[in-house]
Symmetry: C2
Subunit: 346 residues, 2 copies
DNA sequence: TTGTACGCGTTATCAT
DNA sequence: ATGATAACGCGTACAA
């Protein structure tokens, strides 16, 4: 028999309930639900009426375990910290792309912890996501072999994974800092400082590389005393900035490798009373950057393109599992406001 | 028979494969996987070894459709726009709470569109989420009756839903603006302006209400000419600010009801050359608020408590479906920096 | 045009 | 202590 007649039954109606009410077989109901041909219009009407009156909704989960493609129309996304504006913007873009393909997005934050990343991958995997988009942490993503072996494609975003080849989308980090250097050089700056994170962080290394190569192209060399890396938080960035701008001769301009560096550096410049004299270009746009005085000139990442690009690569691979891996580089954009336009006067 | 022996079989190993390899029945495997008693240690070992060697992972989806509680250990979250820092902070807090209970989070953005909200609810529902957390949009959440009837609890966050009673977590909006007024009054301000969004937006209405009641408590009345609402974007806020500060006598202080108002207002004050003279307190903290000059005094929402509170209400209801509905109000915090400390000199 | 039987991977029932 | 078998809700093969 079907189910209890108890009206307080909390369970949602099933295809069986619909079939019973419409007095047809479940397969006929299934046909109607899936727009398959071969159902008489009147039968069809009767079934749709039953669907309506019962408030029937397809159980997508049960459906997916039985369907040939076994797709759940959901993808998993792992970022470092969703509370970070960069991560949430990328996530939003992925959401939109996924929604356009009627897919839902499971989101998790790894906090840069490789173990947490693995745990999330497993949890996503056991919930049968169709694919994964990951901002990878740590030195080894080879554990993803398991997912790939079972048909779950992976796309890396923001930085490449290690020991695991996969489709990847990254920003044009080196190009961004190089452009910043040229932008400053065009305004007469020669002594340009750089504040950045640990070089083990992919983006930090790329940004420094771009900085160095542009400096070398311009002046033949980049003064090492003006370059400070390994800065883990804004406090360290602040202290490094104070030191660098205490040098003689002091730099006349500054490139900040990330947000934390920017916060520390701006505070330092403020304290030193040189915020209006030292040119400054920061990687990553911030909210209300143009409310600052001077308004902050930034190298903005195209988070929308980053997210959409990652989603595109993932869906492309779902469509064509055998295609060669692709790596997309998303241009960054230097947004001139005021701080980067300060000339090297003194 | 079990399955093809083709090693290129993309399908993940099942409990059946494990049983076959360990030479036991599937129920015994299930017992081991679920830590049920009544399995000889040596049998157990054999099974665990088979699990290991096959790389077996439980299919949580298949598991949930059969289990008595039918829980999928996933919840659905609908925010207005995940790219918004407020939304992403709340989301992060919910994620963490859910993770601590081994639940995954499906996230969607409604963009404030009621139809989109409904669509997302349906998609989440047909994927059998255990519960929903929603930042509601529009004038009618009664459609959620269906979810509740089928055992899916709902929690509203940031603002209450309409025509549908449910657990709710909101910020102490009115208290925040009231405190801002008192903060300004303590510095000698009497003519205080207010810039806010449409009054149909719950938080906007609450914030204005708090502003008015505090003004009336202080001066017996709130001058209507200094109050501008219905501001939909920073452009409108800018124009309203220019008008209000063109009045004679002009206000000496300003309370901004939201981020958009803040952006427009600060730009306006800047243009009018009174940014250093007019006191300003803004609702919602912003990144790098203390890099502004003057550093922005804000009424900060406790997004972590908002998210955690919503998640807590949801899990509590999952544990105890019959309990009376609760409404939690999360305190806001006035963060004094510089802009709110400017005295009413001139 | 329609329905029956089976299978997906798991847990639940009940026997052994 | 263990396992055969039903059941979950659905799609699929095939028979009617």
């Amino acid at each position: 028999m079907a189910r209890t007649d108890d009206p307080s039954d909390r369970r949602a109606p099933t295809i069986k309930d619909v079939a019973l009410l419409a007095e047809v077989g479940i397969k006929t109901v299934s046909r109607v639900l899936n727009d398959e041909p071969g159902v008489r219009p009147e039968t069809r009407d009767r079934i749709l009426k039953a669907v309506e009156s019962l408030g029937y909704r397809r159980n997508e989960i049960a459906s997916s375990i039985r369907r040939r493609d076994r797709r759940t129309a959901s993808i998993g996304l792992i970022v470092e910290d969703l509370a970070n504006p960069f991560a949430s913007s990328v996530t939003r873009a992925i959401q939109d792309f996924a929604a356009a393909r009627s897919h839902l997005v499971l989101v998790g934050s790894s906090d840069g912890d490789p173990a947490r990343e693995r745990t999330l991958v497993q949890e996503f995997g056991s919930r049968l996501v169709d694919g994964l988009i990951i901002v990878p942490s740590g030195a080894d993503q080879s554990y993803l072999d398991y997912e790939r072996a079972h048909g779950v494609p992976v796309v890396f975003v923001d930085r490449p994974g290690k020991r695991f080849k996969a489709d990847t989308v990254v920003s044009e980090n080196a190009g961004g800092t190089a452009e910043a250097v040229r932008h400053l050089a065009a305004r007469g700056h020669e002594r340009i400082a750089f504040l950045g994170d640990r070089q083990s962080v992919y983006t930090a290394a790329q940004r420094l590389a771009g900085f160095k190569s542009a400096m070398e192209a311009l002046h033949g060399t980049a003064d090492k005393r003006y370059i400070r890396t390994g800065l883990r938080d804004s406090r360290q960035a602040h202290d490094a900035a104070v030191e660098v701008f205490g040098l003689d001769p002091a730099p006349t301009a500054l490139v900040c490798g990330n947000n934390l560096a920017t916060i520390g550096a701006v505070h330092a410049l403020q304290e030193l009373g040189i915020r209006d004299r030292v040119a400054c270009i920061a990687f990553d746009d911030i909210e209300l950057a143009d409310l600052l005085r001077p308004a902050l000139t930034v190298i903005a990442q195209d988070t929308a393109a980053l997210g959409a690009g990652a989603a595109r690569l993932l869906f492309d691979r779902l469509d064509e599992p055998g295609a060669p891996f692709r790596r997309t580089t998303v241009p960054v954009r230097l947004v001139p406001r005021e701080s980067g336009e300060i000339p090297a006067s003194a």
